[in-house]
Point group: C2
Chain length 216, copies 2
Amino acid sequence: MRNRFYKGSLTLIWLATGSLLVAGCTQVETSDTDAQEATAPSGSEGIIRASFNDDGSVNRPENWREWVFVGAPLTPNALNGGAAAFPEFHNVYIEPSAYAAYSETGEFPEGTQIAKELTTVRDNNNAENGSSQEVSGVGYFEGEFAGLELTVKDSVRFKDEPGGWAYFSFGHKAPPYEQTATAMPTDSCNACHAESAGDDFVFTQFYPVLRAAKPQ
Amino acid sequence: MRNRFYKGSLTLIWLATGSLLVAGCTQVETSDTDAQEATAPSGSEGIIRASFNDDGSVNRPENWREWVFVGAPLTPNALNGGAAAFPEFHNVYIEPSAYAAYSETGEFPEGTQIAKELTTVRDNNNAENGSSQEVSGVGYFEGEFAGLELTVKDSVRFKDEPGGWAYFSFGHKAPPYEQTATAMPTDSCNACHAESAGDDFVFTQFYPVLRAAKPQ
């Protein structure tokens, strides 16, 4: 029912950019029909996943804020010489059916989609470290939306990408985000994600929700 | 379907502590039957909300990590004289049916439940500001679960609380969290939340997801 609602009223509100988080290498049978969902794992009822077009571009998912939140890394410009790649909060979500599969198997299934939405850091403190002074103390607080990115694992469609993961940006900017995106160059994202190759290129070390969900 | 899964396998994984986020004052008809769901707004199918017992205590919800994430405030000890009330990341979630209602009306309905799960801040940097050095840069990254808190808006059950909001802690500690909790003293939470009395005691200024969902 969350999705029903979203379809009705949030389409008008959401739009903007971001960066991503995964990669690995298995060959699994995937559907290759264009303009349809990327290899949807079971259990996606009602969730509006990203879909692909004939030209290979991907359509923005509609309700990523209803996906399962996994963690919010933060690398402020103030702590990175003024030049962090992504100086915002990174709100990272995994599409629910992929989360369910991961929770059962400990592996990211074909068709996994992970979204990263960026939000600016509030700053009313003029502190050197970029923090803000709020009622609950000095620290970092989410401000405004500033970008949306997506990664999709599809070892057939993206057979040349590490782990079959491709990365997309719908704009590193305030909403409205772009409606479609094409895969980014491998190096631009995998340069970092390669560090997590041992965990299928997903930064699970930063995502306690995924670590807890993984079967022991 | 996300919930079906959760019921089956996450119950074993989750348990621990936290702190909360809301408060207001309206008189709305609510169910008063004990050991049942707190005034559930419509649209909660499959979501395991907190329920109340005969003695007034509340039972921990089961799948708050599937609720709608709204923001992740962070007030590190290092930036607060070593004594932040909650030095962890605050992963804040609103129960989905309350989110749907808020998105339609701009108000938190009776029965709204908001959870706040705390996670430690990774520290492999020994930096004065408490940050960590990771592949994506210097900043703050979520470590381990460290607490779970909940607030419930029920103007009948909690008629003496500001806005009808009561606050509960299932432990400010690592999992396993407590199974039940009793309402905390008003001042212990409302001292901060009173600052947001104009927005029904919810810190929407820190939650871009709620601001975006609110009808314009």
